[in-house]
């Protein structure tokens, strides 16, 4: 019994419906990926997986790649200035990274559950917020301060270094620019091409990166995209030619 990745039902903060609809909405830029909780999607998939007796390798592979792609898209959105290391990808590393992130997230999700139960259990504890009605009025003179502190605080604000690189936490991929260049060439020489045919011989990971390049071209207004329905063939044509 196969686990249908595309029909995987999702119930997220930002989205409720099957996985393929989510992807379609992201493709159409009708859903902000930054609002989508990818870890929740992974949890939903693994939970669905656990309900089945047999392990569906094809579904797992497809899902891993799609989830990894979503993660990368998100990572870019969250850390736009981050220079990603886009050298070749080892699927095993990718899965390990995914598992790592998922494991960390699961722990905190469990902790959040504990906090929620605790809050419920303590719902009959009441205490005063704010000062007591008849307490003596506090006089809190601020102690003498050094003016140099002020200059120091402002200098630190003006000299902020960037956040430490998070590159090592982001999945690595072949460069999107490779596909950008190739698709731009195709658009200027032929004006139109079938996305599926162009990526058909590539690995899944390369297909995903090619897909990212396609999204980028559309966002830049360089290409138009048409698709009859979710997971139907994608046609791409030169935006300025239409």
């Amino acid at each position: 019994m196969a686990v249908a990745v595309r029909e995987l039902p999702l119930d997220l903060d930002a989205f409720e419906g099957p996985f393929d609809l989510l992807l379609t909405l992201v493709l159409r830029e009708e859903l902000e990926l930054r609002d989508v909780d990818v870890a929740e999607i992974v949890v939903a998939f693994v939970e669905r997986l656990a309900e089945r007796q047999a392990l569906d390798l094809e579904a797992c592979g497809e899902f891993l790649v799609l989830a990894a792609a979503l993660l990368e898209l998100k990572a870019r959105g969250l850390f736009p200035d981050e220079e990603l290391d886009l050298e070749g990808l080892d699927p095993e590393e990718a899965a390990e990274e995914l598992a790592e992130r998922l494991a960390a997230y699961r722990r905190f999700r469990a902790a959040a559950g504990w906090l929620e139960e605790r809050l419920e259990a303590e719902s009959d504890r009441f205490f005063r917020l704010g000062p007591a009605p008849l307490a003596p009025v506090p006089a809190r003179p601020v102690a003498r301060q050094e003016p140099a502190q002020l200059a120091g605080a402002l200098r630190a604000l003006a000299a902020a270094r960037p956040e430490p690189s998070l590159g090592h936490l982001v999945l690595t991929y072949p460069p999107v620019s490779r596909f950008l260049d190739r698709f731009r060439d195709l658009l200027s020489s032929r004006g139109r091409f079938a996305f599926d045919r162009e990526v058909d011989r590539l690995s899944r990971i390369e297909q995903i990166v090619a897909f990212l390049a396609l999204l980028e071209l559309r966002k830049q207004g360089e290409a138009q995209i048409a698709q009859a329905g979710p997971f139907e063939p994608i046609t791409v044509w030169n935006a300025s030619a239409s």
Binding site: F126, P133, V142, R144, E146, P147, L157, P162
Partner: protein, 197 residues
């Protein structure tokens, strides 16, 4: 005598509820407010208040029931006045928190400046830091930016006393940082935007 204590007197329970209400209230409570919260008649609440008053009175308890203009409230016993004064007057805040110091620096060097501007420069919401500094009298309102714009803040004379400055021109030099306030402001906003997230 012992067996009598095992019988729950309903007024006893009501008295405990009144005590609970008084200890969480941040203002004196009237008999009507107490009665509404207890879902009881005012007359019974007054009886319960009598019980509370006998338990929480000078000499017997450090917590004392007081009847003031607005209603009933707990206060500290008079015999503990010295200890209470020491608790309240203790110079709690010897220094300033990082958030307070940064906000104060921005207001001192760039003021008058609004809360949204402070938030842009620091990269985090400035509401509580600004409120804390206003409460301590180190910064104050200085009119609005333009018609209907956000309220702007500047440092106060108390600020100058606390930092031992005759006036703002005595603020330490920022050296390498641009002398021009506008340049400094845009540079800080630049950095904050890049630090972003």
């Amino acid at each position: 005598m012992e067996r009598l204590r095992l019988v729950e007197n309903p007024v006893d329970r009501l008295a405990r509820t009144v005590e609970a209400l008084l200890v969480i209230a941040s203002k004196p409570l009237s008999v009507e407010e107490l009665a509404a919260a207890c879902e009881e008649e005012a007359e019974r609440v007054e009886t319960a208040l009598g019980l509370v008053a006998s338990r929480f009175r000078e000499g017997r308890s450090g917590v004392v029931l007081e009847h003031v203009a607005g209603g009933y409230a707990f206060r500290a016993a008079r015999e503990a006045a010295d200890a209470c004064a020491r608790l309240v007057e203790r110079p709690i805040q010897r220094g300033l928190s990082q958030a307070a110091l940064e906000t104060l620096a921005v207001v001192a060097y760039l003021g008058p400046v609004s809360r949204p501007e402070i938030a842009r420069i620091r990269g985090v919401a400035a509401d509580s830091a600004v409120a804390g500094l206003v409460e301590r009298g180190l910064i104050g309102e200085a009119g609005r930016a333009r018609d209907g714009g956000a309220v702007r803040y500047e440092t106060t004379p108390l600020f100058e006393r606390v930092f031992g400055l005759a006036d703002r021109s005595e603020l330490p030099d920022l050296d390498a940082l641009a002398g021009d306030v506008e340049e400094l402001r845009s540079r800080l906003e630049d950095v904050a935007a890049r630090r972003g997230a």
